[in-house]
Amino acid sequence: MSLAEAFKVALGAIAANRLRSSLTVLGVVIGVMSVVLLVAIGTGARDEVSAGIEDLGSNLLIVAPGGFEFGQAPTVSKFTLETVGDLERRLYGRALVSANLVSGETVRADDVSTFASVLGVTETFDEVLNRRVVRGEFVTESDVAMGNRVAVLGSSAATGLFGAVDPIGRTVSISGLRFRVIGVVGRLGATLGVDRDAQVLLPVTAAQRLFGTLRVDTVFVEVPEAEALDDVRGEIASELGLSLEPGDFSILSQEEILGVAGEILSTLTGVLAAIAGISLLVGGIGVSNIMLVSVSERTREVGLRKALGARSRDITRQFLVEAVVLCGVGGVLGIGVGVGLAQAAERFTPLPATITGWSIALAFGTSLVVGVVFGVFPARRAGRLDPVVALRYE
């Protein structure tokens, strides 16, 4: 029997049991849909985080406390403003140094309050980290030197606290201390549904006093000339080595952060795909089950076909094609539903979702493989039926 004939017979058998075939296909649809949707979300998350990191610029070195590896717990920083000052002097003229100190706080303005990340920053922060002041001015050197109680708001912090009112010159209070708003920075967007514009930037000295600490969390070093990046990195290491142990800090380039973040998010995508794979597996078992029913229902037909000259492999092929067609149809529908849901998620929820060609190809390929793998056992069983026994089967 040719493959085309096997196809015709398979389609006839599927059409003859429409409800049963639909329910079987549904299992595969759900499996393939989950693969497409979850991989899209995983990929979307990775793209979004990567874009956020790429925003930092490629000529940035980040000095972070402790080691920086996948799986390592965060460490309390041992950096102080003195560390920052020493680095500034050492790298003077060749690189721009900035630092920050971060804490989540409730910020109030009159009767409105909002939760924001409060960053203590040095005056170079806007330049080093590409923050654009859209109104007013940024924290100045003297603000940092004097520990002035001034604040620069992220765009959504500004609208959250003041609505349409111009916030410049007004005050916000954090933990009972009042800060005068001197500027607003432009939109950064959101990463993984986290609003990066719900920020309040204070002079780092004021922030240290507010939080009762002398530490800074992260030091950022911008190196205008890319070829000097390795030299600068060496100098940072030797400077910090004077006062700190080697395990107390790590120096990272944008590329390295991308690498680690990519690793984490690829693992996440893999886990999501594996979970989706389980539902595809269950769908496949459903196909196997229904094929066994189909074979036993059509035992007499198999006997007849064998009597008329069908070889075992003709029968096996007929049932295998049926299983593969069921799964293929499920695959196509699953891809359609998965793509639709991914687009809906992208549009209506904070979850990012990126459809990639390879995930669609993989999902469709997998559904066909599921058809073969789960169809082959029932199909071979049909092929091996003894014609005499099969013809007598009631």
Partner: protein, 253 residues
């Protein structure tokens, strides 16, 4: 399996070899017990359906095999039709021993040289008569257009040229069996095996079906073996073989 091997004359005799010949065949089944487990013969009862039967069907012959139910006549038909293998003894098709043939070769043999007509008709429901008749040609690798032509010819030969597109549900019992006969002859087999072909039909319709089988035998020289428990059906064939308890009885002359 090639055509020349099937057609080659038997060296021991001058005549062409029988279309099909069984020699001293036995066929036993094990009932109950646990199937095919080795050494399981103690578990179940062994039923000896055939206990040493020899029979030759010559080319162009019309034979009936008569016997009560349970006599082993269906088992004999399965052996004659290459659907089953004997427990002992040999089955020869055109002088060639079937013991050496694989399951696939037996399938090809059934497809090219044997036509079957069953008591239950065994037509595919939801499938038009033409496609039912063309089914053996699908497995013979005949192209679609040629299949339709030959299926139409076969249906016309059994007087159903006007029923090509009808599905089994739209046909009468006699028409069912005529479709089945058309299916059996569409490959131009040398041997046609009919298992109680009139068993599910009323007398008049049964006679029509038998008349078709006799015509095919007379006009096309097709060897026809009819299995029946009905002496009246058997009386219509020139040669009758009686089976009882798994052995042949010499029938009335």
């Amino acid at each position: 399996m090639n055509e020349r091997a099937l057609a080659s004359p038997d060296r021991e005799t001058e005549r062409p070899p029988p279309v099909v010949e069984v020699r001293d065949v036995t066929r036993s089944y094990r009932l109950g017990g646990r199937g095919r487990r080795r050494g399981a013969s103690d578990d179940g009862t062994t039923v000896h359906a055939l206990r040493g039967v020899s029979l030759a069907v010559e080319s162009g012959e019309l034979v009936s095999i008569v016997g009560p139910s349970g006599s082993g006549k269906s088992t004999l038909l399965h052996l004659l039709g290459a659907l089953d293998r004997p427990t002992s003894g040999s089955v020869r098709f055109d002088g060639r021993d079937a013991a050496g043939l694989s399951d696939t070769e037996l399938a090809v043999l059934r497809n090219r040289h044997i036509g079957f007509v069953f008591q239950q008709f065994q037509l595919l429901a939801r499938t038009p008569a033409l496609a039912n008749v063309a089914l053996p040609l699908v497995y013979a690798g005949v192209g679609r257009r040629r299949r339709r032509e030959r299926a139409r010819e076969a249906l016309e030969a059994v007087g159903l040229g006007h029923r090509l597109r009808h599905r089994p549900a739209q046909l009468s019992g006699g028409e069912h069996q005529r479709v089945a006969i058309a299916r059996a002859l569409v490959t131009h087999p040398r041997l046609l095996l009919a298992d109680e072909p009139t068993g599910n039909l009323d007398t008049a319709t049964g006679e029509e079906v038998l008349a078709i089988l006799r015509t095919l035998n007379a006009d096309r020289g097709m060897a026809v073996v009819v299995i029946t428990h009905d002496p009246e059906v058997a009386a219509l064939t020139p040669r009758r073989v009686h089976v009882r308890d798994g052995v042949l009885e010499s029938g009335p002359p």
